[in-house]
């Protein structure tokens, strides 16, 4: 049995999904966290639950909303589980009425009854259930209250709505529906009434679907006939979809009158916080201060000391222990070098940054869970608008700070195709967590006094470059006027420690897992390439295969400050995954015991070259997984190639300016 979970954005569908299936999917406090459908199995195995992106209506505007309509048109839906936000019942019911017209067994989960109660809204669930003709179960998805009862009702109750016609759309529309329904009967599995109403609402997806059954011209004439008929009689009718909306609204007002009681109104705490963080003058500084605090904690106050402790353990007891073990089994030089100089250096070199990565992820989770994300979009909109984007595009970019892949996916919530494409192309410029170890290593070696500030400058540089490029793209490649910005600002929520940890761990574990799989493998092969050369095994590293490969590219990198084969070789591995840069460097610059890589680096880089190198790492290429995601999301080889090439170009030019310019003004 397939049960579809559907409701307005940010009503807690994914929280409920996690509760009902016992899985853990990405949740957050803004509209559009879920951008594709996800499948889970109910805890008691009664069937599969499909988590869909949030929609306001079945008539989609953006691509994530299109996922839902396509799902309804093309896949077998056995039952619907409609989640309503109890504190926003009026607008939630618009979707409910459309779902009931779909004529499949349905069930309503009334979420956030606690929030509603706090706002003085009391809902008579029995009355609501009676009017709508389907069961209504109150739940609190965040805490899991009411979920057992919900599962019970889903398992046992499978009735269609007892009410046949929820909305009477007026004689003209009803006549047209009946006429179209007759033509459709027997030719489709869906409810003809639902299809007809959606068609009249100008739902393009449904129109496409229907054009496989009837000729497009005929469909058009149905719509235009009805439209002119309505205009004739009622001069206040603006459009067909608006007329249908108003009819639904009338019905909803009646439902609310019968089932909802408003006790009192309190000013929510949310609005008081908003008065500060989205303040005219304070908004932007507060955002920057938040970022700065995040980097101070990650690099100065907390992250670096923890990393140092971890580093001490790995280079001290762990290495000594492994050496002893290898001695005991009389390991050959080859195996000894493979494990100590390859694996421990390569994998260990990445693992020491786990504390910093986790701290960063913790902050991103906090941002996502609290409701601040949408406010940042609001604060940033003016700047984004000036470069041809909108504030919403900032959300994918912020997510991109964790990993570019989900960031690019999040661009689905952006309504206009042009802005969406731009966001997809620019999100890779956001400094993802895999690039963080490189910064940590280099700032530790060259900029000890200003670690957080230097790293913050890189993140800001990524954003600034993205904005400048957006402006250039708007002026040249992607010219268009349309830009849309309407954003829902969810009420603030006090993040729960438990869910915050879940969310942090969930993001962070990928990093740890990758260290055990890809970084492990990469380290082995990189080490082998550095150990073997044209003259056989155990060659001097400067004569190894790795050096030969690196030397091919080194001359190109000379003008930007790091024309060594070592830098070139690590940049190549960085295309597969950015973490690989750091493990490659650890292997190449392998230093036995106490001397650290950080100390050694100063022989190869000047501070200026180091900064140039970090900027190059920040911008030079999207990693393999990101490239593949760009291809999948744009569906265009051309744009994918473009995203790689422009990044290489911009990185090179910018580093050239920084390095040569820096030298000119006397920096070293």
């Amino acid at each position: 049995m397939e049960i579809a979970l559907i409701g307005n954005p940010n009503t807690g569908k994914t929280s409920l999904f996690n509760n009902l299936t016992g899985s853990y999917e990405y949740v957050g406090n803004w509209s559009g966290v879920t951008v594709e459908k996800k499948v889970g199995v109910f805890k008691n195995h009664i069937g599969r639950l499909i988590d869909l992106p949030g929609v306001y209506s079945l008539n989609p505007l953006s691509k994530d909303e299109g996922v839902v309509t396509t799902y309804f048109l093309e896949e077998p839906v056995d039952r619907l589980l409609n989640i309503l936000d109890a504190s926003q019942l009026e607008r939630n019911l618009h979707l409910t009425l459309q779902l009931l017209e779909y004529e499949k067994p349905a069930l309503i989960g009334l979420n956030m009854v606690d929030v509603a109660a706090n706002r003085g809204i009391q809902i008579d669930t029995e009355k609501l259930s009676q009017i709508l003709g389907v069961p209504v179960v109150p739940v609190v998805a965040r805490s899991g209250k009411g979920c057992d009862r919900l599962i019970e009702v889903i398992s046992t109750n499978s009735s269609h709505s007892k009410v046949k016609k929820h909305v009477y759309y007026g004689k003209e529309v009803e006549d047209a529906i009946t006429k179209l329904s007759i033509e459709l009967t027997g030719k489709t599995d869906h409810s003809p009434r639902w299809l007809a109403v959606q068609l009249f609402e100008e739902n393009e997806y449904v129109k496409n679907y229907l054009s496989n059954i009837l000729e497009t011209a005929k469909l058009e004439s149905y719509i235009s006939d009805l439209h002119s008929l309505l205009i004739q009689d009622n001069d206040h009718v603006k459009s067909l979809s608006n007329y249908i909306y108003l009819k639904r609204k009338e019905v909803i007002e009646k439902i609310l009158e019968a089932s909802v009681r408003k006790v009192s109104t309190v000013v929510p705490l949310s609005e008081k916080i908003d008065a500060i963080v989205t303040n005219r003058y304070l908004g932007m500084p507060i955002f920057l201060i938040c970022m700065y605090l995040m980097f101070m904690l990650t690099f100065d106050w907390l992250g670096t000391p923890l990393s140092d402790v971890l580093d001490g353990i790995l280079t001290g007891p762990v290495t000594i222990g492994v050496e002893k073990l290898l001695g005991a089994i009389h390991a050959s030089d080859f195996i000894h070098a493979l494990i100590i100089e390859g694996l421990i250096a390569g994998v260990g070199g990445v693992l020491v940054f786990v504390p910093q990565i986790f701290i960063l992820f913790f902050f991103i989770s906090l941002l996502e869970d609290s409701g601040y994300m949408a406010r940042v979009a609001l604060v940033m909109d003016r700047i984004m608008e000036s470069v041809g984007l909108n504030g919403k595009a900032f959300i994918p970019m912020m997510i991109g700070f964790g990993c570019n892949v989900p960031g690019i996916m999040a661009a689905r919530t952006i309504e206009t195709p042009r802005e969406r494409l731009m966001t997809i192309l620019l999100t890779p410029l956001m400094s993802c967590s895999a690039r963080l170890p490189v910064y940590a290593l280099f700032v530790g070696a060259f900029f000890v006094g200003h670690k957080a500030l230097v790293v913050l400058s890189l993140y800001v540089l990524g954003i600034v470059v993205a904005l400048v490029l957006a402006k250039i793209f708007t002026k040249t490649l992607l010219k268009s006027e349309t830009s849309l910005f309407v954003i829902e600002l969810p009420p603030y929520r006090l993040p729960q420690i438990q869910s915050l940890w879940r969310s942090t761990w969930d993001k962070g574990k990928g990093f740890v897992r990758k260290a055990g799989t890809f970084i492990f493998a990469g380290s082995v092969f990189i080490w082998l390439l550095s150990y073997a050369g044209p003259e056989g095994l155990k060659v001097d590293m400067d004569n190894s295969f790795l050096a030969a490969i690196g030397n091919l590219f080194a001359p190109i990198l000379e003008p930007i400050g790091f024309g060594t084969w070592q830098a070139a070789a690590s940049l190549i591995t960085g295309f597969l995954a950015k973490e690989a840069i750091i493990s490659t460097m650890n292997i190449i610059y392998f230093v036995p015991n106490d001397a650290s890589l950080q100390g050694l680096l100063s022989h190869y880089y000047t501070p200026l070259a180091a900064y140039s190198f970090m900027v190059f790492i920040l911008l030079y290429i999207p990693c393999l997984a990101t490239t593949a995601t760009i291809y999948k999301e744009t569906g265009s080889k051309k744009w994918t190639m473009f995203s790689i090439l422009y990044a290489l170009f911009i990185a090179y030019v910018l580093c050239l300016i920084i390095y040569q310019g820096g030298k000119l003004v006397g920096l070293v």
Partner: protein, 74 residues
Amino acid sequence: MFGSFKVGDKGKIINISKVGRLVQRRLLDLGITEGSEVCVKCVMPFGGPVMIESCGQCIGIRRKEACLIEVERV
């Protein structure tokens, strides 16, 4: 008109049809249409977006679109 509204001012929408089609649709999705009561919560600097409140929910829209919404004070 909405353009002259300051933070804290309340009003009732009387005409929303001058706003762009997509924005109008989105606002409709959020339950904001003719007859809705709105309150300006904050205004971003340099012609940035405004945050308005309507039936308990807060929404951010651009100022130039907000200016196209005809509102009467209440």
